[in-house]
Symmetry: C2
Subunit: 191 residues, 2 copies
Protein backbone atom coordinates (compact mmCIF):
# COMPACT_ATOMS: atom_id res chain seq x y z
CA UNK A 1 0.00 0.00 0.00
CA UNK A 2 1.25 3.48 -0.85
CA UNK A 3 1.85 5.57 2.28
CA UNK A 4 2.01 9.21 1.23
CA UNK A 5 2.87 11.93 3.74
CA UNK A 6 2.95 15.71 3.43
CA UNK A 7 6.51 16.92 4.07
CA UNK A 8 6.77 20.35 5.66
CA UNK A 9 9.82 22.47 6.40
CA UNK A 10 10.26 23.49 10.00
CA UNK A 11 12.30 26.69 10.05
CA UNK A 12 14.28 27.68 13.14
CA UNK A 13 11.99 28.54 16.05
CA UNK A 14 11.67 28.85 19.81
CA UNK A 15 9.16 27.44 22.30
CA UNK A 16 8.94 29.28 25.62
CA UNK A 17 7.56 28.78 29.09
CA UNK A 18 5.15 31.35 30.46
CA UNK A 19 7.85 32.45 32.91
CA UNK A 20 10.50 32.94 30.21
CA UNK A 21 7.95 34.73 28.00
CA UNK A 22 7.34 37.22 30.82
CA UNK A 23 11.08 37.73 31.33
CA UNK A 24 11.53 38.40 27.60
CA UNK A 25 8.40 40.46 26.91
CA UNK A 26 7.17 41.75 30.25
CA UNK A 27 4.91 40.70 33.12
CA UNK A 28 1.60 39.16 32.09
CA UNK A 29 2.56 39.06 28.40
CA UNK A 30 0.61 36.71 26.09
CA UNK A 31 1.72 35.42 22.66
CA UNK A 32 -0.22 36.85 19.72
CA UNK A 33 -1.31 34.27 17.11
CA UNK A 34 0.04 35.35 13.73
CA UNK A 35 -0.66 32.14 11.80
CA UNK A 36 -2.01 28.68 12.63
CA UNK A 37 0.38 25.80 11.89
CA UNK A 38 -0.49 22.38 10.49
CA UNK A 39 -0.48 20.72 13.91
CA UNK A 40 -3.80 21.47 15.68
CA UNK A 41 -3.56 24.26 18.28
CA UNK A 42 -0.01 25.24 17.33
CA UNK A 43 0.69 28.69 15.90
CA UNK A 44 3.45 31.03 14.81
CA UNK A 45 3.31 34.07 17.05
CA UNK A 46 4.01 37.71 16.30
CA UNK A 47 6.85 37.63 18.83
CA UNK A 48 10.51 37.17 17.96
CA UNK A 49 13.71 36.85 19.97
CA UNK A 50 17.43 36.79 19.27
CA UNK A 51 19.20 33.47 19.89
CA UNK A 52 22.76 34.20 21.01
CA UNK A 53 25.56 31.63 20.80
CA UNK A 54 29.27 31.80 21.64
CA UNK A 55 30.25 33.23 18.24
CA UNK A 56 27.25 35.03 16.83
CA UNK A 57 23.48 35.36 17.03
CA UNK A 58 20.37 34.51 15.03
CA UNK A 59 18.23 37.66 15.00
CA UNK A 60 14.42 37.73 15.11
CA UNK A 61 13.71 34.02 15.54
CA UNK A 62 9.98 33.21 15.61
CA UNK A 63 8.34 31.99 18.80
CA UNK A 64 5.77 29.24 18.31
CA UNK A 65 2.79 29.03 20.63
CA UNK A 66 1.18 28.10 22.86
CA UNK A 67 3.59 28.33 25.79
CA UNK A 68 5.11 25.04 26.98
CA UNK A 69 6.48 23.51 30.16
CA UNK A 70 10.09 23.91 28.98
CA UNK A 71 11.80 26.48 26.80
CA UNK A 72 13.30 24.88 23.70
CA UNK A 73 15.19 26.26 20.69
CA UNK A 74 15.11 24.30 17.41
CA UNK A 75 17.76 25.30 14.87
CA UNK A 76 19.52 23.66 11.95
CA UNK A 77 23.03 22.23 12.23
CA UNK A 78 24.09 25.06 9.89
CA UNK A 79 22.65 27.59 12.37
CA UNK A 80 24.28 25.86 15.34
CA UNK A 81 27.70 25.97 13.73
CA UNK A 82 27.29 29.56 12.55
CA UNK A 83 26.52 30.95 16.01
CA UNK A 84 28.74 28.56 18.00
CA UNK A 85 26.38 26.21 19.82
CA UNK A 86 26.88 22.46 20.27
CA UNK A 87 23.30 21.32 19.59
CA UNK A 88 22.57 17.57 19.50
CA UNK A 89 20.01 15.88 17.25
CA UNK A 90 17.03 15.24 19.53
CA UNK A 91 13.33 14.66 19.52
CA UNK A 92 11.30 17.62 20.69
CA UNK A 93 11.08 17.65 24.49
CA UNK A 94 14.25 15.58 24.97
CA UNK A 95 16.43 18.49 26.01
CA UNK A 96 18.43 17.08 28.93
CA UNK A 97 22.09 17.96 28.33
CA UNK A 98 21.32 19.73 25.04
CA UNK A 99 22.84 23.02 23.88
CA UNK A 100 23.07 26.30 25.80
CA UNK A 101 22.27 29.79 24.55
CA UNK A 102 20.97 33.18 25.57
CA UNK A 103 17.57 34.47 24.42
CA UNK A 104 17.17 38.23 24.10
CA UNK A 105 13.77 39.89 24.01
CA UNK A 106 12.65 43.52 24.20
CA UNK A 107 12.23 43.41 27.99
CA UNK A 108 14.88 41.00 29.18
CA UNK A 109 17.20 38.07 28.63
CA UNK A 110 17.04 34.37 29.48
CA UNK A 111 20.17 32.24 29.90
CA UNK A 112 19.37 28.67 28.87
CA UNK A 113 21.74 26.08 30.31
CA UNK A 114 20.11 23.55 27.98
CA UNK A 115 17.28 23.45 25.46
CA UNK A 116 18.93 24.02 22.08
CA UNK A 117 18.43 21.06 19.73
CA UNK A 118 18.60 20.11 16.08
CA UNK A 119 15.24 18.38 15.63
CA UNK A 120 15.27 14.70 14.75
CA UNK A 121 13.22 14.28 11.58
CA UNK A 122 9.80 12.97 12.44
CA UNK A 123 6.25 12.27 11.32
CA UNK A 124 3.21 13.43 13.26
CA UNK A 125 0.39 10.87 13.02
CA UNK A 126 -2.97 10.26 14.63
CA UNK A 127 -3.66 6.74 15.98
CA UNK A 128 -5.93 6.28 12.92
CA UNK A 129 -3.11 7.22 10.50
CA UNK A 130 -0.76 4.90 12.36
CA UNK A 131 -3.16 1.98 12.16
CA UNK A 132 -3.86 2.58 8.47
CA UNK A 133 -0.10 2.70 7.75
CA UNK A 134 0.76 -0.17 10.16
CA UNK A 135 3.21 2.03 12.04
CA UNK A 136 3.67 2.20 15.80
CA UNK A 137 4.51 5.16 18.03
CA UNK A 138 8.29 5.78 18.06
CA UNK A 139 8.87 3.41 15.14
CA UNK A 140 11.79 4.41 12.91
CA UNK A 141 10.87 4.54 9.23
CA UNK A 142 12.31 5.78 5.94
CA UNK A 143 10.68 8.34 3.68
CA UNK A 144 11.42 8.81 -0.03
CA UNK A 145 11.23 12.30 -1.56
CA UNK A 146 11.10 12.24 -5.32
CA UNK A 147 12.10 15.88 -5.79
CA UNK A 148 13.73 17.32 -8.90
CA UNK A 149 17.56 17.39 -8.91
CA UNK A 150 17.99 16.18 -5.32
CA UNK A 151 15.75 13.16 -4.71
CA UNK A 152 16.65 11.20 -1.60
CA UNK A 153 15.45 8.75 1.01
CA UNK A 154 15.54 9.94 4.61
CA UNK A 155 16.31 7.18 7.09
CA UNK A 156 16.03 7.55 10.88
CA UNK A 157 12.61 9.20 10.73
CA UNK A 158 10.73 8.75 14.00
CA UNK A 159 6.95 8.29 13.90
CA UNK A 160 5.13 10.08 16.70
CA UNK A 161 1.54 9.05 17.28
CA UNK A 162 -0.88 11.27 19.19
CA UNK A 163 -4.60 11.97 18.81
CA UNK A 164 -3.82 15.71 18.80
CA UNK A 165 -1.57 15.44 15.74
CA UNK A 166 -2.28 15.73 12.04
CA UNK A 167 -0.38 13.63 9.49
CA UNK A 168 2.75 15.52 8.40
CA UNK A 169 6.50 14.95 8.28
CA UNK A 170 8.74 17.73 9.56
CA UNK A 171 12.28 18.31 8.34
CA UNK A 172 14.60 21.22 9.02
CA UNK A 173 16.02 23.67 6.50
CA UNK A 174 19.27 21.71 5.99
CA UNK A 175 17.26 18.61 5.21
CA UNK A 176 14.89 20.56 2.96
CA UNK A 177 17.83 22.04 1.05
CA UNK A 178 19.53 18.65 0.73
CA UNK A 179 16.35 17.39 -0.93
CA UNK A 180 15.60 20.69 -2.71
CA UNK A 181 12.07 20.71 -1.33
CA UNK A 182 10.08 23.58 -2.81
CA UNK A 183 8.09 24.79 0.23
CA UNK A 184 6.50 21.43 0.84
CA UNK A 185 6.08 18.15 -1.03
CA UNK A 186 4.60 14.69 -0.74
CA UNK A 187 6.92 11.94 0.51
CA UNK A 188 6.38 8.20 0.51
CA UNK A 189 6.85 6.20 3.69
CA UNK A 190 8.74 3.02 2.76
CA UNK A 191 8.09 -0.42 4.24
CA UNK B 1 29.81 -6.17 -5.26
CA UNK B 2 30.15 -3.54 -2.54
CA UNK B 3 30.98 -0.12 -3.97
CA UNK B 4 32.33 2.03 -1.16
CA UNK B 5 33.14 5.69 -1.72
CA UNK B 6 34.73 8.30 0.52
CA UNK B 7 32.22 11.11 1.12
CA UNK B 8 33.76 14.53 1.62
CA UNK B 9 32.10 17.84 2.53
CA UNK B 10 32.67 20.67 0.11
CA UNK B 11 32.32 23.93 2.02
CA UNK B 12 31.44 27.15 0.22
CA UNK B 13 34.23 28.26 -2.09
CA UNK B 14 35.17 30.32 -5.13
CA UNK B 15 37.09 29.49 -8.31
CA UNK B 16 38.57 32.46 -10.16
CA UNK B 17 40.04 33.30 -13.53
CA UNK B 18 43.52 34.80 -13.67
CA UNK B 19 41.95 38.10 -14.78
CA UNK B 20 39.45 38.22 -11.88
CA UNK B 21 42.21 37.21 -9.44
CA UNK B 22 44.25 40.21 -10.58
CA UNK B 23 41.25 42.53 -10.22
CA UNK B 24 40.64 41.26 -6.69
CA UNK B 25 44.24 40.97 -5.45
CA UNK B 26 46.35 43.11 -7.77
CA UNK B 27 48.26 42.84 -11.01
CA UNK B 28 50.37 39.69 -11.42
CA UNK B 29 48.97 38.11 -8.24
CA UNK B 30 49.32 34.33 -7.79
CA UNK B 31 47.29 32.10 -5.43
CA UNK B 32 49.25 30.72 -2.48
CA UNK B 33 48.69 27.00 -1.81
CA UNK B 34 47.52 26.61 1.79
CA UNK B 35 46.44 22.96 1.63
CA UNK B 36 46.19 20.29 -1.06
CA UNK B 37 42.69 18.89 -1.62
CA UNK B 38 41.72 15.30 -2.38
CA UNK B 39 41.45 15.90 -6.12
CA UNK B 40 44.95 15.87 -7.68
CA UNK B 41 46.35 19.37 -8.35
CA UNK B 42 43.52 21.16 -6.55
CA UNK B 43 44.26 23.22 -3.44
CA UNK B 44 42.73 25.58 -0.92
CA UNK B 45 44.52 28.90 -1.23
CA UNK B 46 45.43 31.44 1.42
CA UNK B 47 43.24 33.99 -0.35
CA UNK B 48 39.67 34.83 0.63
CA UNK B 49 37.00 37.11 -0.78
CA UNK B 50 33.59 38.36 0.27
CA UNK B 51 30.61 37.08 -1.74
CA UNK B 52 27.95 39.79 -1.80
CA UNK B 53 24.29 39.11 -2.58
CA UNK B 54 21.22 41.33 -2.68
CA UNK B 55 20.51 41.01 1.06
CA UNK B 56 23.79 40.22 2.78
CA UNK B 57 27.30 38.86 2.26
CA UNK B 58 29.37 35.81 3.05
CA UNK B 59 32.68 37.09 4.43
CA UNK B 60 36.08 35.50 3.84
CA UNK B 61 35.12 32.73 1.46
CA UNK B 62 38.04 30.51 0.46
CA UNK B 63 39.37 30.57 -3.10
CA UNK B 64 40.34 27.17 -4.48
CA UNK B 65 43.23 26.89 -6.93
CA UNK B 66 44.52 26.67 -9.53
CA UNK B 67 42.88 29.46 -11.55
CA UNK B 68 40.22 28.39 -14.06
CA UNK B 69 38.76 29.57 -17.34
CA UNK B 70 35.59 30.85 -15.65
CA UNK B 71 34.94 32.34 -12.22
CA UNK B 72 32.46 30.23 -10.26
CA UNK B 73 31.01 30.49 -6.75
CA UNK B 74 29.76 27.31 -5.03
CA UNK B 75 27.53 27.90 -2.01
CA UNK B 76 24.85 25.97 -0.17
CA UNK B 77 21.14 26.67 -0.68
CA UNK B 78 21.16 27.95 2.92
CA UNK B 79 23.90 30.43 1.97
CA UNK B 80 22.09 31.48 -1.21
CA UNK B 81 18.90 32.25 0.68
CA UNK B 82 20.70 34.05 3.49
CA UNK B 83 22.48 36.52 1.20
CA UNK B 84 19.73 36.83 -1.41
CA UNK B 85 21.00 35.02 -4.50
CA UNK B 86 18.94 32.77 -6.79
CA UNK B 87 21.49 29.99 -7.29
CA UNK B 88 20.44 26.90 -9.28
CA UNK B 89 21.64 23.34 -8.63
CA UNK B 90 24.29 22.76 -11.29
CA UNK B 91 27.30 20.65 -12.11
CA UNK B 92 30.58 22.50 -11.82
CA UNK B 93 31.29 24.41 -15.02
CA UNK B 94 27.64 24.59 -16.07
CA UNK B 95 27.16 28.23 -15.13
CA UNK B 96 25.16 29.63 -18.04
CA UNK B 97 22.24 31.61 -16.56
CA UNK B 98 23.26 30.81 -12.99
CA UNK B 99 23.26 33.27 -10.05
CA UNK B 100 24.77 36.74 -9.93
CA UNK B 101 26.88 38.25 -7.15
CA UNK B 102 29.69 40.66 -6.41
CA UNK B 103 33.12 39.45 -5.24
CA UNK B 104 35.12 41.82 -3.05
CA UNK B 105 38.86 41.43 -2.57
CA UNK B 106 41.50 43.66 -0.99
CA UNK B 107 42.34 45.40 -4.29
CA UNK B 108 39.07 45.45 -6.18
CA UNK B 109 35.65 44.10 -6.94
CA UNK B 110 34.23 41.81 -9.61
CA UNK B 111 30.56 41.89 -10.64
CA UNK B 112 29.52 38.42 -11.77
CA UNK B 113 26.45 38.36 -14.02
CA UNK B 114 26.44 34.57 -13.61
CA UNK B 115 28.57 31.92 -11.92
CA UNK B 116 26.90 31.28 -8.56
CA UNK B 117 25.69 27.69 -8.23
CA UNK B 118 24.62 25.15 -5.63
CA UNK B 119 26.73 22.17 -6.62
CA UNK B 120 24.94 19.06 -7.82
CA UNK B 121 26.12 16.16 -5.66
CA UNK B 122 28.69 14.13 -7.54
CA UNK B 123 31.34 11.44 -7.45
CA UNK B 124 34.81 11.94 -8.88
CA UNK B 125 36.11 8.70 -10.43
CA UNK B 126 39.03 7.58 -12.55
CA UNK B 127 38.26 5.43 -15.62
CA UNK B 128 39.63 2.48 -13.61
CA UNK B 129 37.24 3.17 -10.70
CA UNK B 130 34.36 3.53 -13.15
CA UNK B 131 35.15 0.23 -14.84
CA UNK B 132 35.53 -1.59 -11.53
CA UNK B 133 32.17 -0.20 -10.34
CA UNK B 134 30.46 -0.63 -13.75
CA UNK B 135 29.53 3.05 -13.84
CA UNK B 136 29.73 5.36 -16.86
CA UNK B 137 30.60 9.06 -17.07
CA UNK B 138 27.54 11.22 -16.24
CA UNK B 139 25.58 8.23 -14.93
CA UNK B 140 23.14 9.10 -12.15
CA UNK B 141 23.52 6.84 -9.12
CA UNK B 142 22.34 6.66 -5.51
CA UNK B 143 24.63 6.59 -2.49
CA UNK B 144 23.68 5.32 0.97
CA UNK B 145 25.21 6.94 4.05
CA UNK B 146 24.80 4.86 7.17
CA UNK B 147 25.46 7.70 9.61
CA UNK B 148 24.25 7.84 13.20
CA UNK B 149 20.90 9.60 13.77
CA UNK B 150 20.46 10.80 10.18
CA UNK B 151 21.17 7.94 7.79
CA UNK B 152 19.92 8.55 4.27
CA UNK B 153 20.25 7.62 0.61
CA UNK B 154 21.18 10.41 -1.76
CA UNK B 155 19.61 10.07 -5.21
CA UNK B 156 20.53 12.19 -8.23
CA UNK B 157 24.27 11.77 -7.69
CA UNK B 158 26.18 12.32 -10.94
CA UNK B 159 29.30 10.23 -11.61
CA UNK B 160 32.09 12.20 -13.26
CA UNK B 161 34.88 10.13 -14.78
CA UNK B 162 38.26 11.65 -15.55
CA UNK B 163 41.82 10.28 -15.38
CA UNK B 164 42.81 13.33 -13.31
CA UNK B 165 40.27 12.55 -10.57
CA UNK B 166 40.53 10.50 -7.40
CA UNK B 167 37.57 8.48 -6.10
CA UNK B 168 35.50 10.69 -3.78
CA UNK B 169 31.91 11.90 -3.46
CA UNK B 170 31.37 15.59 -2.76
CA UNK B 171 28.35 16.96 -0.94
CA UNK B 172 27.70 20.47 0.33
CA UNK B 173 27.19 21.54 3.93
CA UNK B 174 23.38 21.33 3.78
CA UNK B 175 23.64 17.77 2.52
CA UNK B 176 26.30 16.93 5.12
CA UNK B 177 24.12 18.32 7.90
CA UNK B 178 21.05 16.47 6.61
CA UNK B 179 23.07 13.25 6.91
CA UNK B 180 24.96 14.35 10.04
CA UNK B 181 28.28 13.51 8.40
CA UNK B 182 31.12 13.90 10.89
CA UNK B 183 33.83 15.51 8.71
CA UNK B 184 33.82 12.65 6.22
CA UNK B 185 32.46 9.11 5.99
CA UNK B 186 32.24 6.10 3.73
CA UNK B 187 29.16 5.83 1.56
CA UNK B 188 27.93 2.88 -0.49
CA UNK B 189 27.04 3.33 -4.16
CA UNK B 190 23.83 1.40 -4.79
CA UNK B 191 23.07 -0.60 -7.92
Amino acid sequence: MAKPVLVEISARHVHVTEKDLETLFGSGYKLKNKKDLSQPGQFASEERVDVVGSKNKLANVSILGPVRTATQVEISATDARSIGIAAPIRESGHISGSGACKLVGPCGEVELAEGVIVAKRHIHMTPEDAEMYSIKDNQIVSVALNTAERSLVFGDVVARVNPNFKLAMHIDTDEANAASVPGSCIGEILD
